[in-house]
Amino acid sequence: MNIDNIKKEFPIFDEKIQNNDLVYLDSANSSQKPKVVIDRINEFYTKEFSNVGRSIHYLAVAATNLYENTRSSVQKYINAKDKNEIVFTKGATEALNLVANTLGQKYLNEGDEILLTELEHHSNYVPWHYLRKSKNIKINFAEINEDGEIPIENIEKKITPKTKVIAINHLSNVTGAILPIKEITEIAHAKDIIVVVDGCQGAPHLKLDVQDLDCDFYAISCHKMYGPTGLGILYGKKKWLEELPPYQGGGGMIKEVKKDRITYGDLPNKYEAGTMATAQVIAFDKSIKFLESIGIENIIKHEKELIEYGQEILKKNNSVKLIGNPKNKGGVISFTIEGVHPHDIATILDEDGVAIRAGHHCCQILHDKLEIPASARASVGVYNTKSDFDQLNESINKCKKIFDLK
């Protein structure tokens, strides 16, 4: 599929938003959905619906096969060694909670330390904070440099003999900085430190090879990856998923249930309690196929060009101040305008059909560090074009006019 006219695969762009064409620059929040994915959901509910893994009638067998098929597709897409290293969750947030909770149950002890970075999303901080409360575990933060990156030295500096886990972003949803996961993992593993990667922004925009990265866990958010809402994925190395205790308990994850004891099922069932997001999992196969049909190299190239163009144009616009300047940067540009609060920017841009996000983007630690209460963020997906940034810039100028800026 050619990325240059990929936009037509996304039906939402046929719509007018308050009489404007939609300029969607909020993909880091959630991506739009291609027709193939929407159609698959529709088709499944219309012609093939059944719960999976429970009944053995025709529809149930077919649905179970489709469900497991997606697991295999994901395995291949991220190059996991084993199909059972793929666990479906309700989102990346649940995936990270699962890891923190089960490590807390079995692996971490009072006084142990967890290393995060100042770039972490709340979803990769609050679950660890729980362990701080319940187990007296210490949390340290690797600092950003002035470009909004986390240089590897800043990680090394904060590793102590008590560090047991490093939990880090793959691609910052504010500065766009891409973290050197492979290098971090090497350093960490040499000291027996587990590496948990928040791959929410990495998975849709970077080449993913978990064996190459060698991280122990990788969390994915499917709705940011051209997939349905209500679905996430946890990749975990088999040895961990086998060793750690289960997370939620319920139907489907057990082996034997007696009044006085319970044994748990094997992978991947052990971590998939209750009826799962069947239709969403089945449709997500189409998201993977869609990404494959474009090719991740083409996506990376396309998004790099877009971001370079966007940065260039915004840098020329005085009043606009870009946040961070990472050498290795993904499809996110955050900025402020001196004298205009990001919420006012977002409202004024919205009037032209330009959808961006304003706020702290679930990264309060970072905004505190930068000493700003909020920022505006434009983020891209496969469907964006350079003209989207032209429109963004034009609307920013309108904003400046309203606020009487030069």
């Binding site: 308050q18 004298g339 205009v340 609060h341 990001p342 919420h343 006012d344 409202t347 004024i348 009037e351 304003a358 706020g359 702290h360 309060q364 905004h367 209460p373 909020a374 309203i402 606020f403 009487d404």
Partner: protein, 154 residues
């Protein structure tokens, strides 16, 4: 929708140069408010004298033009009023933002009413209503001084 109605001159001016953006010395009532969605926060300080009159009112915080203007205008209008008058003005303002087309209170001068009505532009912007009302809800909380932190997430 109409950006001109939202960002009227008065709003922009108050947003840029908010009145009473400071901390009242010897305040005897105060409360904090925040909006977790956008990170806006405000701290309202109040000095009620023995006759239950608002001798001074001020605020600290940061936020968008709408929320700064709203807090600025609010503090301007509430200063010098009795606590009952203040409550009437608050109710009137919140009622206007919520549903009433106009302000009803007879306490305010026409001039002051005009200022407040400028904030009615947010009615067309549901996500911005909270920006306009946060400082007012926080003021209520300060007057009741119940120690509860106001949140406008809801």
């Amino acid at each position: 929708m109409n950006l001109k109605e939202l960002y009227q001159e008065i709003i922009l001016e108050h947003g840029k140069n908010p009145r009473n953006l400071r901390k009242t010395e010897n305040f005897n009532k105060d409360a904090k408010g925040n909006n977790p969605l956008c990170g806006d926060n405000v701290h309202v300080y109040l000095k009620l004298n023995n006759q239950r009159k608002v001798e001074d009112i001020s605020f600290e915080g940061s936020g968008c033009a709408i929320s700064m203007a709203s807090a600025s205008i609010m503090t301007d209008l509430i200063k010098g009023k009795s606590d009952n008058e203040a409550k009437e003005i608050i109710d009137d303002f919140l009622g206007m933002i919520k549903e009433n087309p106009e302000l009803k209170s007879t306490i305010l001068e026409e001039d002051d009413k005009t200022k407040l009505m400028c904030l009615s532009g947010v009615k067309q912007y549901p996500m911005r209503v909270k920006c306009a009302t946060l400082s007012w809800h926080t003021l209520i909380s300060a007057m009741e001084d119940d120690g509860k932190q106001v949140s406008t997430e809801d």
